[in-house]
Symmetry: C3
Subunit: 309 residues, 3 copies
Amino acid sequence: MNEFYKKNIISVRNLDKQKLELIFDATDKIIDMSQDKRREIARGKTLGYLFFEPSTRTRLSFESAIALLGGTSLGIADATSSSIHKGETLGDTVKVISSYCDVLVLRHSLDGSSRFAAEISNKPVINAGSGTEEHPTQTIQDLYTIKKEKKKIDGLKIGIAGDLKYGRTVYSLLYGLRNYDVDLHLISPESLRIRSDSTYDIKKELSYTESSNIDEYIEDLDVLYVTRIQKERFPDEEEYAKVKGSYVIGSDMVKKMKDDAIILHPLPRIDEISADVDNTKQAKYFEQAEYGKYTRAALLGLILNENGF
Amino acid sequence: MNEFYKKNIISVRNLDKQKLELIFDATDKIIDMSQDKRREIARGKTLGYLFFEPSTRTRLSFESAIALLGGTSLGIADATSSSIHKGETLGDTVKVISSYCDVLVLRHSLDGSSRFAAEISNKPVINAGSGTEEHPTQTIQDLYTIKKEKKKIDGLKIGIAGDLKYGRTVYSLLYGLRNYDVDLHLISPESLRIRSDSTYDIKKELSYTESSNIDEYIEDLDVLYVTRIQKERFPDEEEYAKVKGSYVIGSDMVKKMKDDAIILHPLPRIDEISADVDNTKQAKYFEQAEYGKYTRAALLGLILNENGF
Amino acid sequence: MNEFYKKNIISVRNLDKQKLELIFDATDKIIDMSQDKRREIARGKTLGYLFFEPSTRTRLSFESAIALLGGTSLGIADATSSSIHKGETLGDTVKVISSYCDVLVLRHSLDGSSRFAAEISNKPVINAGSGTEEHPTQTIQDLYTIKKEKKKIDGLKIGIAGDLKYGRTVYSLLYGLRNYDVDLHLISPESLRIRSDSTYDIKKELSYTESSNIDEYIEDLDVLYVTRIQKERFPDEEEYAKVKGSYVIGSDMVKKMKDDAIILHPLPRIDEISADVDNTKQAKYFEQAEYGKYTRAALLGLILNENGF
């Protein structure tokens, strides 16, 4: 029996290196498989989605993943505006939707929402983003992309740049990177540094430098992971404009990078990476988006099939 | 040829006991069937839905039902806000959508809407709730749940409590119960009693008591069907608060119930049943929700297959 | 190899008579095919849709077409209100969604949007309506309906009536009709005549008369193509009321038409065709809607299969 069978995916903290590698291997297998074989993996299975925060990209990634495996999806793309939510508790909604599907994908703004849902649901629950720190399937996708493009994760010099304070993607990625021996550099404006309370656990297992100057590291990085800097985070517009400018990755900056470095981004990208970077060989963020379809398919395949696939 | 083949399901009034039992038997069959056999029942068929009142729960129940049978669904989840409705008549919308599917599911606020649609549509129409009194698939689900959990319907002592004046579910259930020999008690605040004009027909075939005191009956009931009491129905908040409180089913009240009694609710539940009731053995409202997937699948299977399945 | 394999469908201007006839033949084949064979054509394929202008009808037509072929659809029904669009460029959105599907269907208000998307997308792009002039799949559907119902297109006397100035459907149809030898009459209020700048190219290949009097032609037409006259196009309500009235097709007008003439309309119809026309044998607009499912299925089948089907 594979160890993901009928299991919940709540937090990347529960995914050790062995588990991550198992998912990566399953992803390789999915990519190499014939379409006909792939479509047997979730034949007749239904994925239910329940998004209390709308996230079209993540939802469609899951929908395309289950379709790839021959399954179907149904659910609620925007539960806050949906009739289902009028005064109903999260627990009741989860209970009902889980009886309509074989695996439930939940997105919710509250920390702990997925764990709570998993206790109530009759079906395995996958956290598609919750609260301030958790986004396990994004992290699996991110780590898989690094591994696929760089052939390894251990030993790499990785920079994460942009807004590190807000946005669950970064925290989730840090938790994931604990499993690897990497040389990590966090690069952000002072005011957008990672929250130290959240990294208390991380620090024991993961060392990193913090800096606000991307130029210090750019030449040595193997991986540059860029995140969006959102205007709403700044008290005044001038401050925002100043900060924003100094974290835009342009083709000039890419020229300083190693030839085989890669640039990632969880997307959507606004203007923190210039359009002219898209055609450089370092730009891998669209590949990263596509890999997300395959990592999610692999995960679904493992959860839905006792003996894997 | 099965008698539901290519037929419309407009009103529970057209479903006599023999027809209901036929659907119940088909539901049992669906539940017991292997997934592979089940997926042949609507292979290559498309369910079209057209919801002029949004009802996520009912829509997803139908979507999960057709998916269970190997079919697909498409349609309009909120036709009032959809571009399709801009000035277009219901008839035109029905005509077009029915040409995109094999069976059409319609939800509409007007009495008679489904009957009208059925006359216009090239495909069988299922009423997924219309006007003040009709919700046949909910009633099939309710009656099936009673039968499944109590092994019979005839001879049972059934209480229906809450707001009986508004809400089509109760009227539809009463029409369904005419087919059975039950001991029926309607329990509601004076101001929310069932409309006597609507029960003119029912009364000839179904006798019941009316009361505002749930305690009178609670110890003897085999089935307690609870409905939501909506704040909007009351002229002032105090009146609402008073009434609401006296119809909340808590675990204390459940202790007075028979051991093998069952509590049903069409859901969503707000606070008319306390959360601590969920873990009592009488609570069957979530099972009821799940059965709805199977009763709808059975109905679709009968409508779409000449010789049943 | 069929010439549509992996090709984009951007403009009807790229579809010459030979290509159109190829699609029509494929449509005939789809209609005549057994359901089981049909479902092999896009088995395991996913259609992605991206609608920046909501158009439920066109979207559902595509969804029903891919379902008919055994495929799946996913996407964004209203991209302007979707989270995916918050500041993201069209290019990025197209790039990501195209990695989730096998063929991408785009609806966008801007001229050139589909051509741009096709350059960026990894998958074939089908224009489901863009800008002021392009709606190739609607035109294919319109021409197929004429051919199917009249057994030919060449030699027919065709009238297009209503608002010819706004609405991409008419321009697209004119471009399509260039491929045929037809006797064409454009009938509209003065203020809603076709834009002469847009027809500069058309005029070289297609001759037509312009008139504001529908009665002049009604008796001789083989095809009457009616379009909606929208209130918003008029500076004042009186002007609108006057114009509207004189372009309403009623059963009296249909009596003047040839027995074997046909009336088409891209739908939705508001009141420019009276309901009593629906039952005349000339009314073919609902058949036209249904044919759209099959023409789109044929096109998808050709794009997705190297050797056709």
